[in-house]
Symmetry: C2
Subunit: 335 residues, 2 copies
Amino acid sequence: MSDNKSNLPALIVVDWGSSNFRAFLVDGKGSILDTVNGEQGVLSIKNDCLETVLLSYISGWLSKHKTPIIMAGMVGGAIGWQDTGYVNTPANLGSMSVNLCKANNKAGLQISIVPGVKYVMENNVCDVMRGEEVQVFGAVLDVEQTAGELSNQTLSETMFCLPGTHSKWVQVAKDTHRKTVITSLSTFMTGEIFDLLTKQSILGEGLESLGKTPTDMPSFLKGVGVSQIQSSLLSALFSARTLKLDKQLTLQNVPSYLSGLLIGAELAGIKSKLNDIKHVYLIGNSSLNTLYCEALKELGFTSSILSSATASTKGMFTLAVQAGLVTEKETQLCH
Amino acid sequence: MSDNKSNLPALIVVDWGSSNFRAFLVDGKGSILDTVNGEQGVLSIKNDCLETVLLSYISGWLSKHKTPIIMAGMVGGAIGWQDTGYVNTPANLGSMSVNLCKANNKAGLQISIVPGVKYVMENNVCDVMRGEEVQVFGAVLDVEQTAGELSNQTLSETMFCLPGTHSKWVQVAKDTHRKTVITSLSTFMTGEIFDLLTKQSILGEGLESLGKTPTDMPSFLKGVGVSQIQSSLLSALFSARTLKLDKQLTLQNVPSYLSGLLIGAELAGIKSKLNDIKHVYLIGNSSLNTLYCEALKELGFTSSILSSATASTKGMFTLAVQAGLVTEKETQLCH
């Protein structure tokens, strides 16, 4: 560790979802000093064991520096540590920070949990996310550090996509104070449907002994293409069977083709809702980022890949500063 | 049994799908004399045991009358008795009858299996069906016996829908000889996706101990409505979760709502492909027919429910006559 005071641990950032745990020790500038990853997601842990699991991951850091802890993700849901509720769109770091929840804990630690974000559509149907919102705020900061402030014109042609089990598409704008606000979000169940279809459906028959990971790019792009000309996904999906019967597709290539059909349908959904979109920032794991990147290119969008770890830590560090968890003095030390 | 010769058994009609067996003993007019139903679908039986299973169902009939047997459905597929291949659209009873396959069997019975129908779209993506095609031919005959011959104008505004695990939508026309021809078909994986979502997905969580059958009509129709305003099914599906989180939907009503979302998406797919459609003939089981009927009404279509047993037997009897399995002499006897 360097002797510069800015390198001293200032905050522990925890991104704790349904199926994964990820924590970052960050310094007074928000830079990552250390990372720990685990597969113990909130879904797999009893509510009253969450504190024990958290400590098992981060007690090494805490034994040296008693920094505050900020957590986001399903840890703040009804099945998590405690239900933090949702902040409505338009949501900015200000409305997020005033709704941070102090997390009860036996160890006497200073733990805050980030609320989720809720988007209510005209027909009173709503959509929600937890954890992705801080990544989007962080991603905007990340982009702006290189490219300068994003204008409302640019943002109206831009979306942030977090591919996964339940992919999130988020649009942001600048308010009158030039603060970033999340204006809308859409969840697509793409990853979960892919998983169900390859493991449990008639389309996955025979795949038991083969890989279910999409690896064949031509089959993937064929699926993307078919999804654009078939108006209904429920109907397009059956082509994964008929093309195999017709020997246009091998069994090995079914997962790649199906992935193309589903990601293609997701992109068609975004396209039909938001005609103006030209550029997409992808914040996901590397294999999904690659697939989305190729599908976006095929459909005439440009895209950039952003680091999910950077997005998480930048978003949560800034939120912690805004909420006064990391004092201005400590932040000042960094400059 | 009446003493009229027209009531003598003339043909055994077998509709043998992936998960169900249904056989009809029909007379020289094609009227049903007796029916047997079973749950031993083709998927659950080893290929070389199919003959034994068939005989276990119909040997009672055969012991009195050695009538020819005609079979349709997955029994003619690659995993069935023998692969009968497909007849391309436009398909009529003529092209179906010349492609009937004699089925090898140890008992020396006269068994014929109907080929499937294949529809090749412009982009070389194809769709197929097995068993539904004979029901559609039979349904047209059934309708025409009451309403008189259907004109091409009427047929251009009409579709035949066979709801199920893999719902089929079939359009027919009249050729220059005024014969009915199947011109197109579309498969929607609606039933299978409903099953996967209610049993295996995050949307089905907590439903284990509750019924998964859609029984609440208001929730069903709410799902139909949401499916029409949400452009992407992958996104609309997530509302089954958010509406529950938002207390707009109870857990008990999730299956009804999900069914509405899926059937609504199926109908939206048909609507976008075929703008002219005004009337739909439904050929399915009674609970599915009711759901489709209500959804169609909600979206401004009219519909009629036809008997699936009548459609199957009329279609296969006429095909058997055309192929000479039931001789003209026997048919003449009926009049």
